[in-house]
């Protein structure tokens, strides 16, 4: 094969037209994959049981009076919200990427006429509808229990919440790409990811509502990106945020999306140049 026959490596921004055309097909492939491996899919969903365990614990704690302004009902809506937002926005790009880089299967994907980041995005977006279906009972309970405070019955907050979900998905996706792409340079990319997971569990509001954290941790949580991946959409949903605070948080979140998006694409670009799998 002559060199001319090899298509030019797709760029991240240069071939948007092709991406738009291919995306529906990629999504369809993803959905049928989810349906084919439905048992595995369900087991993955069940691994996210920590919010329910924490809910049980806070229920026991709040049995004899509210904690701060969280009573038992507020804890129920909060942790069901955490469960829903977490399942809608989480993905496993880090494992996928670091493995494909290490065992060289990434080379084949680089030859495809679509940038691997878009392919990964389609792969993980296509799991969202099924996940939404599985968690709909939890969302129904949340709406029933927390109706009087849900989104504060404010149209603006509804829009903010939807935008914050999209933002959270993108933010998580880009950080995962960023950390996965570190496998281009270092061997223990998954070790770094595990450190990140530990900090995330505390500062994102996953284990404990950010309000209940000690003062210094709350300050850190408000500045660092973790809260914008999980805690912020949940707080908006269950009515813990005023319109003013929510709009500010949304701005910060999308700022982080821009920063992490640029960083992910940049590290990827340098990494691919650096990358030489076996035989390539």
């Amino acid at each position: 094969m002559s060199l001319e026959a090899v298509p030019a490596r797709p760029g991240f921004t240069s071939d948007l037209g092709r991406v738009v055309k291919a995306f529906p097909t990629l999504l369809r492939v993803g959905v049928s994959e989810v349906v084919a491996y439905r048992a595995e899919f369900l087991v993955w969903i069940l691994t996210t049981n920590m919010p329910l365990v924490m809910l049980a614990i806070w229920h026991a704690v709040a049995a004899d009076g509210p904690v701060g302004h969280f009573d038992q009902r507020a804890f129920t809506t909060y942790y069901l919200g955490v469960l829903a937002v977490r399942l809608l926005t989480s993905n496993w790009v880090v494992w996928q990427l670091s493995m494909e880089i290490r065992d060289g299967t990434l080379s084949a994907k680089l030859l495809r006429p679509i940038h691997p980041i878009y392919a990964l995005a389609a792969d993980h977006l296509s799991a969202v509808p099924m996940r939404a279906l599985v968690i709909s009972p939890a969302v129904a309970i949340l709406a029933y229990v927390g109706w009087d405070r849900l989104l504060r019955h404010d149209g603006v907050l509804v829009l903010v919440f939807v935008a914050s979900l999209v933002g959270a998905w993108l933010l998580i996706f880009f950080t995962m790409i960023l950390m996965g792409a570190l496998a281009f340079f270092v061997e223990s990319a998954l070790g770094i990811f595990e450190l990140w997971l530990g900090v995330h569990a505390i500062l994102s509001g996953y284990l404990v509502p950010i309000e209940a954290l000690p003062h210094w941790a709350r300050t850190a949580a408000n500045v660092l990106p973790f809260r914008f991946m999980l805690g912020f959409p949940v707080e908006a949903l269950v009515g813990l945020l005023s319109r003013h605070d929510a709009l500010w948080a949304l701005a910060a979140q999308w700022g982080y999306v821009a920063i992490f998006g640029a960083a992910a694409v940049g590290v990827w670009r340098v990494g691919v140049r650096h990358f030489s799998a076996y035989g390539g």
């Binding site: 048992a39 691994t47 049981n49 365990v53 614990i57 806070w58 026991a60 904690v67 530990g198």
Partner: protein, 265 residues
């Protein structure tokens, strides 16, 4: 007796191999140690937050709950350091068909696969667990009696047997359904609940965590034994139940192995 000596020798060899492998990757060793310390902190934060607002929760005071957390940390070290790595390797063997080579070796297959891989950096967790024990009991101001320690140790043995048995059951499942590696994540995520005393759970969760996935036996009862709050009858019933569990797991493994027909079929 000769058989026992042979297996002791085999165990020593397997252990030495694991240690050598671990020492090959020294930088990794340090990173993993740091991660272990971080996760210990992550484990403690919710407990600290909860007891920051209440003096006692569901009949457990702060230092008493710390005893449960210490048991949890100790068992997690055993699970992630000695049980999980080996058995995850079995799942890989089954998927690739390389289990054949293990089965051909002239020793018990369950023994061989269970001792294949040990990750020594989890010793950090063991040290952490003891630090939490010491802190908790010094806060309580009363140290466990010899009898309590004895019962506690018996429960440690039992807990390891139960963890191992559940794992063997999960791995046996890999002979029927190949994609089982996420079952191990499910197992790990359920085990995380063991850091809390069983009494904080109500209703269905309490039943599940006592009988189906017995975290009560893993951490709550051992902690009660150390604290001298466990009566003899419950202790004996728990021990008997745990041993029965292990016997069932061994039988299931034998059945599953009989079904194994290598990768191509």
């Amino acid at each position: 007796m000769a058989l026992l000596r042979r297996y002791a020798g085999l165990f020593r060899v397997q252990l030495a191999m694991s240690a050598l492998t671990a020492m090959q990757y020294r930088a990794d060793f340090v990173v993993k140690g740091l991660i272990a310390i971080l996760w210990m902190g992550v484990t403690l934060v919710p407990v600290l937050v909860v007891f920051g607002v209440r003096k006692s929760v569901a009949g457990w005071s702060f230092p008493e709950s710390l005893v449960v957390v210490a048991w949890f940390t100790l068992l997690r070290a055993v699970l992630e350091g000695a049980v999980s790595p080996s058995l995850t390797a079995v799942v890989e063997h089954v998927r690739h068909g390389t289990l054949d080579f293990v089965l051909l070796k002239p020793a018990d297959a369950q023994f061989l696969v269970s001792t294949a891989k040990i990750e020594p950096w989890h010793l950090v967790d063991v040290v952490g667990a003891f630090a939490i024990f010491v802190y908790a009991f010094s806060k309580i101001g009363r140290w466990p009696s010899l009898l309590n320690l004895g019962t506690g140790l018996a429960f440690l043995g039992l807990a390891i047997i139960i963890l191992y048995s559940i794992w063997i059951l999960v791995v046996s499942a890999s002979f029927w359904v190949i994609k089982v590696d996420n079952l191990s994540y499910l197992f790990g995520s359920l085990f995380d609940a063991a850091r809390w005393p069983i009494t904080v759970f109500r209703g269905a969760l309490r039943v599940v965590f006592t009988f189906v996935f017995p975290i009560a036996l893993l951490t709550t009862y051992p902690a009660m034994a150390l604290l001298g709050r466990l009566d003899l009858k419950t202790a004996i019933a728990a021990l008997a139940g745990g041993l029965a569990f292990a016997a069932i797991a061994r039988r299931v493994w034998r059945r599953a192995l009989a079904l194994y027909t290598s990768a191509s079929s």
